[in-house]
């Protein structure tokens, strides 16, 4: 039951992430091309488009990083893993995942502070009616999500070691 519920939740989450990322990418391409068209052929342009595009890049990147965490596709310097025996390596991976979780959660906390400060003193920067704190909301969300994913990866790692590699259900999130 719990496993089934978990599966469903992650499935929905993955769908939301994937849809949002694809949409962001499509809108970035269309908006940037539209700007060229407007400027070069109609000598006009959308004043909000360029700053909005820059934030969309940020959103796509941070959301992409959350997806990269789920796919285990982050850039890493892995120099010693092939020197360590398999059994110990499993535990060391768990330690590394817990460490990554801790760092992401501290980053998420720092991001909450930052967004809070922006909401309180952010000043006049708005794009299409979005205030600065709203534009920066992706920071706490993405780092929070990554933190949780590293936690899940650590737990899954422990289960894998103890049960010799079963529990597929939470392996992939």
């Amino acid at each position: 039951m719990i496993v089934a519920g978990w599966r469903k939740t992650t499935k929905v989450l993955h769908f939301v992430e994937d849809t949002l990322l694809s949409l962001l990418l499509v809108v970035m391409i269309v908006l940037a091309c539209l700007q060229i068209l407007l400027r070069d052929f109609f000598a006009t342009g959308l004043a909000w488009a360029d700053p909005l595009l820059r934030y969309m890049v940020l959103w796509a990147g941070l959301l992409g990083a959350a997806v990269a965490t789920r796919m285990d596709k982050h850039i890493a310097i892995d120099l010693v893993s092939h020197l360590v025996p398999e059994r110990i390596l499993g535990w060391l991976r768990v330690v590394a995942h817990l460490f990554s979780m801790a760092v992401c959660l501290v980053l998420a906390y720092a991001a909450v502070v930052f967004v809070g400060d922006e909401a309180a003193y952010g000043g006049g920067q708005t794009i299409l009616g979005f205030a600065s704190w709203q534009l920066n909301l992706i920071f706490p969300m993405a780092f929070g999500l990554m933190g949780l994913r590293f936690l899940v990866a650590a737990v899954a790692g422990v289960f894998r070691i103890l049960q010799g590699g079963s529990l597929q259900a939470i392996n992939h999130d």
Binding site: D50, L53, R54, G61, A110, N136
Partner: protein, 420 residues
Amino acid sequence: MQILKILTIGLALLGSPLFVVISALALLSFYGVGVDLSVVIIEMSRLAETPMLLSLPLFIFAGTLLSESRAPKRMLAMSQALLGWLPGGLAVISLVVCAVFTAFTGASGVTIFALGGILYPALLKDHYSERFSLGLLTTSGSLGLLFPPSLPLILYGVIAETRIDQLFLAGILPGLLMLVLLGAYSIKKGVAAKEKRAPVSGQALKALRDAAWELPLPVIVLGGIYGGIFVAGEAAAVTALYVLVVEVFIYRDIEFRRLPKIMVTSMALFGGILVVLAASMASTNFLVDQEVPTRLFELIREHISSKYTFLLLLNLFLLLVGAMLDIFSALVLVVPIIVPIAQGYGVDLTHLGIIFLTNLQIGYCTPPVGLNLFLAGYRFEKPLVQLYAATLPFLLLLLAALAIITYFPWLSLWLTRFAG
């Protein structure tokens, strides 16, 4: 604090994500001097003020589409039809196609995987030695990093705050130099191999027609930017749109329903790069805050007075870095520290970028841990030691190119004059 930092680096060696490690070091460092931790996010948020960044996700998407399509095959057929008559023709073709392909897809291993599988048996069939063929393909895996619109070139521009349109021009002649050196060597080997040469035939026209839609890509990128039609970020958008239409709707290489997955994969790839970049913004800011670059420069200045000695040592250092780290990590970690020092010695930042990328490109093929060696070992099922030996002559040629590129700055800068 120091113990925590050492622990963090230990965890890095255990394969923790690089962005986590750099962020942890930045957080610990700022905590140590009593600055509020949200400074890390303030620095990261500066990425939203970087207009050039837009070109990264869009070129990554275009590159992923190209590598998922049959574009490599078409390019190969076309080059074969055009260059097949040359002595060493197939080897030269391999170099050119790999270079162009790497420029558009980044040196993520796609070149070795997508093209290597086709080229390796073809080279053997044309009587090239196994050793030569392996060396050639391993080296070609990162050839083309200097040609626009290569991602590492853009990333250098973003980090060093250097004009990307100038970097694009600056890479062309040094990239050609490497192609010519390797090409000349291949022709020499090709004469010895006595391969059979294909005359230019009716096939040429067909191959050309087949690849007709992909041929304009370099023109779109360069012509658009230097023709004043769009900036680098917009060039990426046009390229992405063009590749999308061509591969999905005209060639129909990629089914429409596969698109979302390709989009998500490419954005995950971009996300991986962006968080490393974001984390390094924070760690670099700590160094700036503590005035480290200034002090480092003064320290180095005491011992090295000549710009040329500096460049020599820089090359040795970068070759070492290139052999240890992948290109994105190397750029993100080293560029922010080197840029102010190099500026102190009066090194042109565009030229510096070309030096950086040439070194890192060579680093892909240097033992013990060059990425191309691993990829080629995996793809061609050969032991690493055999690849070390096979790559050696190519490596020496690339080092000669590096020396020329470093000590003749005009090679990098001559074309940039035309962009003002």
